[in-house]
Symmetry: C2
Subunit: 258 residues, 2 copies
Amino acid sequence: MRNTERSARPIVDPILNSTSAARIKTIGVLGGMGPLATVCFLQRVVEQIKADRDQDYVPIILNCAPQIPDRSAAILRKGKSPLPELKRALAQLEAVSPDFVCMPCNTAHFWYAELTEGLAIPFVHIVDPVIHKLNIFAKSQTCVGLLATNATIKAEIYQQRAGKSYEWTIPDDITQYSFVDSAIGLIKGGRQSDAIPLIRQAMRYLVDVKHVRIIVLGCTELSLIADWLDPEVIIVDSAGVLARWVADYALGARIDSQ
Amino acid sequence: MRNTERSARPIVDPILNSTSAARIKTIGVLGGMGPLATVCFLQRVVEQIKADRDQDYVPIILNCAPQIPDRSAAILRKGKSPLPELKRALAQLEAVSPDFVCMPCNTAHFWYAELTEGLAIPFVHIVDPVIHKLNIFAKSQTCVGLLATNATIKAEIYQQRAGKSYEWTIPDDITQYSFVDSAIGLIKGGRQSDAIPLIRQAMRYLVDVKHVRIIVLGCTELSLIADWLDPEVIIVDSAGVLARWVADYALGARIDSQ
């Protein structure tokens, strides 16, 4: 399943950008998908900054717009498209003039091409910091487990953005529906502790059956339980690495990856 | 110490507003004072909502503007006034048209009169939900302990907004400087665990020496450690009750208190 206007963009390795270090950038966050994941993401952004006084933290504009129609339903079941609401929410953000934007929802990146079309400011794609992180410790073509919504998997959001860099390994259908999608739904309803055993079970499948040693949490809801998952595999939390990325970028330590 | 243009406004008891229940309101948050307290506040807002799907949560626009000059320095030491930056941040929020705004920083309410002057939308004063909460279980004239920044205390932000409803009891100078202000500074730097014993010590003073049985956490930073404080007194967390208030208001369960 493809969004035909989407094409893989090259990943630009972040480099120190000494010229922009003088001014802290304002981060725009298109959030609310879901709200708890957005708050967890903001917390991870703020925690990146080591500061003793308010004024050394990064400025953030958040549009938490939970009424955006369900992304998975639109991708998998031809439900109402969230694109008009996503565009409206992004335009509201733009009105407050952040220096760049990000969107802590993997599935919504299905509409990344449409959202960035004509956008005057950089929009950090959530897959880029994941790939950057993987590039640090994984060889090209390594099997990487992917825990994400069924919609993110079916839309091949990781595969299209990352190109052929890694071999993405996904759960079988029963594991995906019964454990991963169920867990994400539970977290959206604030039931993190009920979700943890389900995700542990899905991880066991990827480790024992598919023999992966690296697992990407490709859904920002999963960031809420990332600290309680199996420590025997390497976990790359898409929300966590995006938070680190945007904080560094706001502080002038990265160039745009778009 | 008074801001001469400020006057106590009457507290209007919230009542059910059945006519507005049909549409969820968008909450505007003027935040970043400090950023960790703002994230904690957002989390408390989101956690008020019991929902299984994103679309049932409340929309939030956040302007997290940590570069706003230090409020305490301005009040206590004639430091640079934060008012122009507060106004600018509020105007940015207004541009995105929230239905009402709030500001999870007690000390910044020193400039509440100036900020609300000519504002077209309601601005919930942080002291109002505290007074509402106190009214539920405390008799008028009860001694209530107040843990807040020295600036909030010296500016009499609680006393002026609440009128003569309660007798506000504050720590002595040594306790205020060595424990309360120090703890708030530690929390701003992310050192919550170091702050807990200091605030417990200040609470001991209020309980043992001043014999209070109710303590208001009149600084939103203190909300970050509220769950680890002494359970033998009643604690009213200004950030927590503001979160509950704005969530209820957004859902149509309250009328404006302004």
